[in-house]
């Protein structure tokens, strides 16, 4: 079910602005890859190119190649909507649909893609909420509004919503930055479980989080404000955090800059 991502020589632009330069990396199936680096270095931008979400911003475009198990995501005739069905995303701030109940939020992805069968929807909602470790907290109030939950619960609801459509890859853009430490821990445990089924890519500003949850860490940096962000180093998390090849990586991780 999980898929492998190959990024080759990717350059990302917002209109005339060169945001990310020359990134190549491979993400193996059923692993967690963390993107770390200072603000503005293009981690989120790169993450959003993995499911063509950056195209939502007018003027954004990509050069290079992103492949999902060998299928070129930026090839001719590829529908970004179809890509996003396979590569799901969880955002920085919890964003459940305010007009929908907890049940409807989780079922939204399936329903809006044409699934009407009540049984399938019920099963998907229960399974997704269980995987997101939220089922026991909400099973008695599935009809209540999703925005009535606490921040941490809302974020787990958003994760349940993302995995209800059974994506192959799950992208997470700083999923814990708006949450308290206990909710963060819950999400981190969840990422560990999700890894068994999905390929996970997570952007984080929290070094300890990257060290705790990821198998592979990629460090991004930019030469100066207004210059494109670059991939400085990518490797097994243990190596990046104990014995990185680049001086910049070590400086960033030990807190000497950034």
């Amino acid at each position: 079910m999980a898929k492998r991502i190959d990024v080759r020589n990717v350059d990302i632009y917002y209109g005339g602005f060169h945001a990310v330069e020359g990134v190549s990396m491979t993400v193996e199936p059923r692993t967690v890859t963390a993107f770390i680096g200072p603000s503005g270095c293009g981690k989120s931008t790169l993450l959003r190119t993995l499911n063509r979400m950056h195209e939502v911003i007018p003027g954004a475009h990509v050069k290079g190649s992103v492949q999902l198990d060998g299928t070129e995501l930026y090839g001719q005739g590829i529908d970004p909507v179809a890509v996003r069905r396979v590569v799901g995303m969880v955002f920085q701030r919890p964003n459940p649909f305010p007009s929908m109940s907890i049940y409807d939020n989780v079922a939204a992805g399936l329903r809006l893609n044409g699934v009407k069968n009540k049984k399938i929807l019920d099963d998907a909602v229960e399974r997704s909420l269980m995987s997101a470790n939220l089922w026991n907290e909400v099973k008695d109030r599935l009809g209540k509004a999703g925005i009535g939950l606490s921040g941490g619960q809302q974020q787990r609801l958003c994760i349940a919503r993302a995995i209800a459509v059974e994506p192959q890859v799950l992208l997470m853009d700083e999923p814990c930055s708006a949450l308290d430490p206990i909710s963060t821990l819950a999400i981190e445990d969840l990422i560990g479980e999700l890894q068994e089924q999905y390929t996970v890519v997570i952007v984080t500003h929290n070094m300890q989080q990257a060290a705790r949850v990821s198998d592979q860490t990629a460090f991004f940096n930019l030469a100066a404000q207004g210059k494109p962000g670059k991939l400085i180093e990518i490797g097994p998390t243990e190596k990046i955090f104990s014995n990185p090849d680049e001086k910049a990586t070590e400086d960033y991780i030990t807190g000497r800059f950034g």
């Binding site: 499911n51 979400m53 939502v56 007018p58 909507v81 179809a82 890509v83 996003r84 069905r85 396979v86 799901g88 995303m89 955002f91 701030r93 964003n95 649909f97 305010p98 007009s99 929908m100 109940s101 939204a108 992805g109 809006l112 893609n113 109030r141 209540k144 509004a145 925005i147 009535g148 958003c158 919503r161 993302a162 459509v165």
Partner: protein
């Protein structure tokens, strides 16, 4: 550290000086007076209309009978013919203006945001929302009656009202769509939902209560308009359901037709009762909008 301690020692918990207390009192009085000045005329108008019109409005005939065969010197009859006309013309207007307004706003916010076209259309709509009703009426008169050679009719009135209602609906819908956070659209896209379905199933439901309020405000404005009625349809005292006939009763024209009655005549009271009826219908629409908005909202806990 010692500098900080001395500053701390100087922190005072005494009341502000007399000058400041006085300034505060004066400002408080001003604010209160301004509020009172704004509310007094409103309350006065409401009191006058209710006190002079309530007797007739509470009778059954008022809601069930027309003014056919009733002269200003005679008691009796009702406003049914005018209510029918007002509601019918407002509904035809809404049936045209609401879809165009909402779809236009969706285009401007969801598809053409930030483009020259969007700015040009928004600017035009702003100008349109400033045109007096009589200009809208004369435009429809010129187009509908002079150029197309069609007769005066309730439909012509509705078309003039569309020109007045459209900007209200379009602008308010635009504002409501702007308030929907982009994160919700992105969340929907990330589920592999196409853009049109995102708009239909996520954006519109989120903005629904606000859009509804805009529609009701537009309707309330349009129902009180008098100029298009005077120019595009004659007042009729009898009941008429046909929107294409050239005469139809309406509450504003009912008020207008009786406005020069002497205060001791029964016709005088009917003018006030018609005014009260118009206010009541507007209020009813407003309550209905709130009810729909509330019913569409989910319980949080």
């Amino acid at each position: 550290m010692s500098a900080a301690t001395t500053t701390d020692a100087q922190v005072s918990f005494r009341r502000p000086s007399g000058v400041r207390t006085t300034k505060n009192a004066i400002a408080t009085v001003y604010v209160f007076l301004a509020t009172a000045l704004a509310v007094i005329p409103l309350a006065w108008v409401l009191y006058t209309v209710i006190s002079k019109g309530i007797r007739l409005v509470l009778t059954q005939e008022w809601w069930l009978q027309s003014q056919r065969g009733i002269t200003p010197r005679r008691e009796g009859g009702g406003a049914y013919h005018a209510i029918v006309g007002t509601v019918e013309m407002a509904l035809i207007c809404a049936a045209i203006a609401v879809p165009i307004g909402i779809l236009g706003a969706i285009f401007l916010i969801e598809y053409a945001k930030g483009t020259k076209v969007a700015r040009a259309v928004s600017f035009t709509v702003d100008i349109l929302s400033g045109i007096p009703s009589i200009v809208a009426a004369l435009f429809i008169y010129a187009l509908f009656i002079t150029i197309f050679g069609l007769g005066r009719s309730a439909v012509a009135v509705s078309l003039a009202l569309v020109l007045l209602m459209l900007p209200v609906v379009l602008r308010s819908t635009e504002e409501m769509l702007k308030l929907v956070p982009n994160e919700l659209r992105e969340a929907s896209y990330a589920l592999g939902v196409p853009k049109w379905k995102t708009i239909l199933r996520v954006v519109i439901p989120t903005a629904f209560a606000g859009i509804m309020t805009g529609i009701m405000l537009g309707l309330a404005r349009v129902m009180g308009e008098t100029a298009p009625l005077l120019i595009l349809v004659s007042y009729a005292v009898g009941i008429n359901f046909s929107p294409t006939s050239d005469t139809m009763g309406a509450l504003p024209t009912m008020i207008n037709s009786g406005r020069d009655q002497a205060p001791q005549l029964p016709g005088y009271e009917r003018v006030w009762a018609a005014a009260l009826t118009l206010i009541l219908i507007s209020m009813l629409l407003n309550l209905l909008a709130r009810f729909i908005a509330r019913a569409s909202k989910l319980k949080e806990k």
